[in-house]
Amino acid sequence: MAEDNCQCGESGFKKLAEYIRQFPDKKTALIKVLYEAQHIFGFLSKDVMLFVADKLDVPAAKISGVVSFYSYFTTTPKGRTQIKCCMGTACFVRGAEKIISRFEEKLNIKRGETGADLEYSLDSLRCVGACGLAPVVLVNDQVFGKLEAADVDTILANNQG
């Protein structure tokens, strides 16, 4: 059996199996199951994908095809602090590029990357629907809005503390 890397103590695989059981129509539940799996484990490792393939009775190749198609899914671990900069149009015209560049510079990683120490990962995403607050950044899913490049330093400083 694969290594169980769920962070919550309880067996992640048991939780996932529990979740899968509620679907009468297993095949069409694939995306929801992967979504849940990513929430449990943080990312979709090969073992997790094989587990899902087994439980849903779909070929592993199909699973990896689906995972690679949707940008929401990730197959590599993310940092403890996940920074996601909105690069939607509203944020872009209000200077989102400056914000994400500042993060790149301060964290010394490029967008799409995770630091080697797994402290931070930096991603861009498209519109979280809070365009009124543009430019917007999510730090572990908490929304920060109306940012200027200098706010990046404050966010990171507060996160350290």
Binding site: S71, Y72, T89, G129, V143
Partner: protein
């Protein structure tokens, strides 16, 4: 627990819950013996701590012993996101903006206890010499608006089915099931003239008619809640602020076409919308408004949420269907249209969130009522998401046919920081931009297409003199290139090629021939790509070239970016305020900065690679780009 087993039960529930709305909708409650506070609980305001504000308000109300007189709860988006969080006080009809957690005590003490409006928290209208305005009815932002799809957003608590019923909810469905045959419902929709709000503008009644005419017992009703256009957020606001209207709209559509099963395809990036909609579905099912034998009429309908997982192309209907089926969301060619062969090969209709939010209103008030607003060929109202360099960022709903100028300058309050208007992009990555010279255009489906843009989902991104139009075009191509599913060559290779050329232009390697190449490529892609994503991807380039040709020429001939955005085309200078600390010099990767300690430094622009490192290092902000 609320149970609605027949039409009489709904009447009873309505009679029971309607008094909840009294303070909010009836004007003659000026005794202030009772009050109600509504606080926006949408994504935007929540991230400005509106939920904490609500908790603190409740605590203060309790501490002041006002619990029996005053209630406070959340509601959906008021639309005026720029100035959130918003607190609305009923029956006073007072609209507080940018309310912080710290303001809660004063609201309770001053307004609720002593009946004194807090001027400090009112909206100040710049157009009227910053006069504070208490009622939103007096604000330019709201004066020209007419709310149909958004009618319950900012009025009811979206987390309680009782509130939706109090506002007349589920009566349209009851009316259809009790008094109308499916073909009558279709007929009413055709009379309304409603066109799909998801982008294409296809008449909803006709779509339903085609699906209704298909033989066979199994059909599906799908709601497209993928809202992929970055910068548009009306669907999110409806799902968060009035989720039951979507359930009711879907049930009516299902009845009209003869379907008993529905799906809502909703993006995973909208966790709050998912949560609110799921809660509403559970409540409706529990009450018997979803499930078997609704109202005892013999009609059954139930629905399920399916998640989109971050692929823009899945908003395209055929791709969306493949995704619901559990696979990769790749488009397929049409025909066959989904209304003939959709989910698992069965007739399926797909409607957008805003389209469906209009449906209960149309059936309650009549198709002719809806058709009495709007323009000749675009009936009713449309929600627009104003964003970008505009003063009043937010959601507005206006009758079709209103002029763009009214939207930007009256409702939107003009351009931020007194800058000059440059263009507004409509239709998202599939659309185009409209320049200042065409601000008088009356907004509807056909006029926007004639202007070289399109309605899309109703996003309006306002750009000012500081935005570079080549850069904007590149931004959109960046988007479509990344989101292309790669299935067909014109889109996969062609749009990538366009992106390359635009990159060259913004980095100073473009030529006049490149501009010709762009045009030709764009035409080929438009004609040959398989789905709407690829076909429309070149639109932002064509439209910015058409209206801002000079700006393209400046980039390729003079190697200059007039808006001073394209960093590769700028020169770096050190001004006299330099204190000669040397920090910039040490950080420069190509050592092109010279100067002695405590003297003004100099940059050699022939060597500078425009990395921008020096600017961020300089403690005195002495380095400028020009």
């Amino acid at each position: 627990m609320l149970k609605i087993a027949n039409f009489r039960d709904l009447d009873k529930a309505y009679a029971e819950f309607k008094p909840r709305m009294a303070l909010r909708t009836e004007a003659d409650h000026k005794s202030f013996a009772k009050r109600e506070l509504l606080i926006c609980g949408g994504t935007g305001c929540q991230s400005s701590n509106s939920l904490i504000l609500l908790e603190v308000l409740k605590k203060e109300i309790k501490a002041a012993g006002l619990e029996d007189q005053v209630t406070a709860h959340i509601t959906g988006c008021f639309g005026f996101c720029e100035k959130g969080p918003i607190v609305k006080v009923f029956p006073d009809d007072v609209f507080y903006v940018e309310v912080g957690v710290d303001d809660a005590a004063e609201i309770v003490e001053s307004h609720l206890k002593n009946n004194t409006i807090i001027t400090r928290l009112l909206y100040k209208d710049p157009a009227q010499g910053n006069k504070p305005i208490a009622s939103h009815h007096e604000m330019d932002f709201y004066k020209k608006q007419m709310r149909v799809a958004l009618c319950n957003c900012g009025l009811i608590n979206p987390e309680e089915i009782e509130e939706y019923i109090a506002a007349g909810g589920y009566q349209a469905l009851a009316l259809c099931l009790e008094k109308k045959k499916p073909q009558d419902v279709v007929q009413e929709m055709k009379i309304s003239g409603l066109r799909g709000r998801g982008g294409g503008g296809f008449p909803t009644g006709i779509k339903w008619e085609v699906a209704a005419a298909q033989p066979g017992p199994v059909k599906y009703m799908v709601c497209n809640a993928d809202e992929g256009d970055p910068g548009a957020f009306m669907d999110r606001s409806i799902l968060e602020g009035d989720p039951h209207s979507i359930i009711e709209g879907m049930a009516i559509a299902a009845y009209a076409i003869g379907s008993d099963r529905g799906f809502v395809y909703i993006r995973a990036e909208y966790p709050l919308a998912i949560q609110r909609l799921q809660r509403a579905v559970d409540q409706s099912r529990e009450a018997g408004l979803l499930g078997k034998n609704i109202f005892g009429s013999g009609f059954s309908f139930d629905l399920e949420l399916k998640y989109g997982a971050g692929a823009f192309v899945c908003g395209e209907e055929t791709a969306l269907l493949r995704s619901i089926e559990g696979g990769r969301g790749e488009p397929t060619s049409k025909p066959p249209f989904p209304a003939q062969s959709g989910l698992w090969g069965k007739p399926t209709i797909i409607n957008n969130v805003e389209t469906l939010a209009n449906v209960p209103q149309i059936l309650r008030r009549g198709g002719a009522w809806f058709a009495s607003f709007g323009s000749e060929k675009s009936k009713g109202t449309k929600v627009f998401a104003l964003a970008g360099k505009i003063n009043n960022v937010g959601l507005v709903e206006v009758p079709m046919g209103i002029s763009l100028k009214d939207i930007i300058y009256e409702i939107g309050g003009g351009i931020k920081n007194g800058k000059k208007f440059k263009a507004v992009q409509t239709g998202g990555p599939s659309g185009g931009c409209i320049p200042a010279a065409e601000l008088d255009i009356n907004i509807d489906y056909d006029n926007l297409i004639a202007a070289g843009s399109m309605m899309g989902s109703g996003g309006m991104i306002v750009m000012d003199e500081d935005n570079c139009m080549v850069d904007i075009a590149k931004f959109y191509l960046d988007f479509t290139m990344e989101e292309s599913c790669g299935k067909c060559t014109p889109c996969r290779i062609g749009n990538k090629r366009i992106h390359e050329i635009l990159t060259n232009i913004t980095e100073g390697r473009g030529s006049l021939e490149d501009l010709e190449k762009l045009k030709n490529l764009a035409e080929v892609i438009k004609d040959t790509a398989l789905c709407g994503l690829g076909q429309t991807a070149p639109n932002p380039v064509l439209s910015t070239m058409k209206h801002f040709w000079d700006e393209y020429v400046a980039h390729v001939v003079d190697k200059r970016c007039p808006a001073r955005v394209c960093t590769h085309l700028l020169d770096y200078f050190i001004t006299d305020s330099c204190v000669g600390c040397g920090l910039c010099k040490r950080g420069c990767p190509v050592s092109c900065i010279t100067g002695n300690k405590k003297e003004v430094h100099v940059i050699d622009n022939a060597l500078c690679i425009k990395c921008g490192s020096c600017i961020s290092k300089c403690p005195t902000k002495s380095i400028v780009r020009q």
